[in-house]
């Protein structure tokens, strides 16, 4: 995202300059219809930690709150698993050529494998990493977990890119408009996923490591 936004900037300016901010807003459960209010005002109205919101928007550590970030990431996981991927799969199943059952089975099989990989990765974060961070925040003993985000992210991103390329290069699509629409969704999803991963790799992971260092220090 370009430039550094501040609490005093208007929310509508942010969105018109960066429509990807809409995704960030929905994951912070901020509703539309905010008129000319500033980013700070909208965050306060929606009980959202303004610093964390701006950290994600500006992709920089802006004294963010790990709790708020976890809520955000959890919503983001739901977006992919409960909305984005099922939506793409449904549309894809509709545009596949009739009478090519074996091929279509292989295409959907690829997608399902990819979806399962994504789900496994996100579930691990929801069920293992987030409880670990919550324990760290309370300074309670926590079962340590592996924080190998970036490598897994890269693998899953590659899977999706490969899938997209296979559809473009090899699938003999008959209905071009419909297939294009699915491809646009996949291109979008690719970008969404990359920015989601960037939040985890560049904001969340350093925040956890900071907590770990803090907890290790003798009181």
């Amino acid at each position: 995202m370009n430039g550094k936004y501040q609490e005093s900037d208007s929310m509508s300016r942010l969105v018109s300059e960066n429509y990807a901010a809409l995704l960030v807003m929905s994951r912070f459960k901020i509703a539309l219809g905010f008129g000319d209010k500033s980013i700070g005002e909208v965050c306060r109205d929606n009980r959202v930690d303004g610093n964390t919101f701006l950290s994600v928007i500006n992709m920089s550590d802006n004294a963010l709150s790990p709790e708020a970030l976890m809520d955000y990431l959890h919503c983001s996981h739901d977006y992919f698993l409960k909305y984005r991927l099922p939506d793409i799969r449904r549309k894809l199943a509709q545009v596949l050529n009739e009478g090519q059952d074996e091929l279509n089975k292989a295409v959907l099989g690829y997608f399902d494998k990819f979806e399962a990989e994504m789900r496994k990765h996100m579930n691990y974060e929801d069920k293992k990493v987030f409880p670990y961070v919550k324990a760290l925040l309370k300074n309670e003993p926590a079962e340590p977990c592996q924080l190998i985000f970036s490598k897994q992210h890269e693998q899953i991103e590659c899977r999706l890119t490969e899938f997209k390329n296979i559809l473009i290069k090899y699938y003999p699509a008959q209905s071009t408009n419909e297939m294009n629409s699915v491809l646009f969704d996949i291109f979008n999803c690719e970008q969404d996923f990359e920015s989601h991963n960037a939040v985890e790799d560049r904001l969340f992971l350093p925040a956890i490591q900071k907590l770990e260092r803090k907890n290790k220090r003798p009181a």
């Binding site: 091929l103 292989a106 690829y110």
Partner: protein, 194 residues
């Protein structure tokens, strides 16, 4: 550049010019060459050894397309051997030109330049080429779920060869996963469908 001699075919009717260019090439110690020289197109037809050449030095009065056709090497790099003034259109079909007034250094420079860039272009082209029969067989084995060892045994290859084939397949198709190869194989009818 390796020290393997560069195979060069020279086609030039004049014996004096032919001997001259061969003598100059021998002087260029940094580029070892293996020269095959003939006077004209008819001689090329009767002697097939010119076909393996990587470089062609020819008199521009002889039709270049005819030479390339005879060598069955449309992609061979060509230098014109100039001993008079020629119009630019003839020379355009050549990759480079050597004048009989060139010094050994100038010729060396031209050869080095020509030998260093063409191979990249060729390997680049290769990467987008279609799959070989062997590569197709390997894809079929991979999507059946066979391990590299099993593929090697069934096709009588070494595991190392199988791995290198798989790398080439991934490079050509930009597909790295078995699930992706399955889709490719079905689209391209590499497997029998029930």
């Amino acid at each position: 550049m390796s020290n393997r001699p560069i195979k060069i075919t020279i086609i030039e009717p004049s014996l004096i010019l032919r001997s001259g260019i061969i003598a100059v090439l021998k002087q260029i110690k940094s580029i070892p060459t293996e020269v095959f020289d003939i006077a004209d197109l008819d001689e090329l037809k009767t002697s097939p050894s010119g076909q393996k050449s990587e470089l062609l030095i020819a008199c521009p009065m002889i039709s270049l397309p005819a030479i390339k056709k005879e060598m069955s090497r449309p992609d061979v790099k060509c230098l014109a051997l100039l001993h008079n003034l020629l119009d630019g259109t003839t020379l355009k079909t050549y990759d480079e030109a050597i004048s009989i007034y060139d010094s050994a250094e100038q010729i060396q420079e031209k050869l080095t330049k020509l030998l260093s860039d063409p191979l990249d272009g060729e390997s680049d082209k290769k990467r987008h080429e279609s799959l070989s029969q062997r590569e197709k067989e390997i894809i079929v084995c991979v999507i059946k779920g066979m391990t590299n060892k099993q593929i090697a045994d069934s096709l009588n290859l070494s595991s190392h060869t199988v791995i290198s084939h798989r790398k080439n397949i991934a490079g050509k198709l930009q597909i790295h996963s078995t699930a992706g190869l399955t889709i490719y194989a079905i689209v391209n009818k590499l497997v029998d469908l029930p």
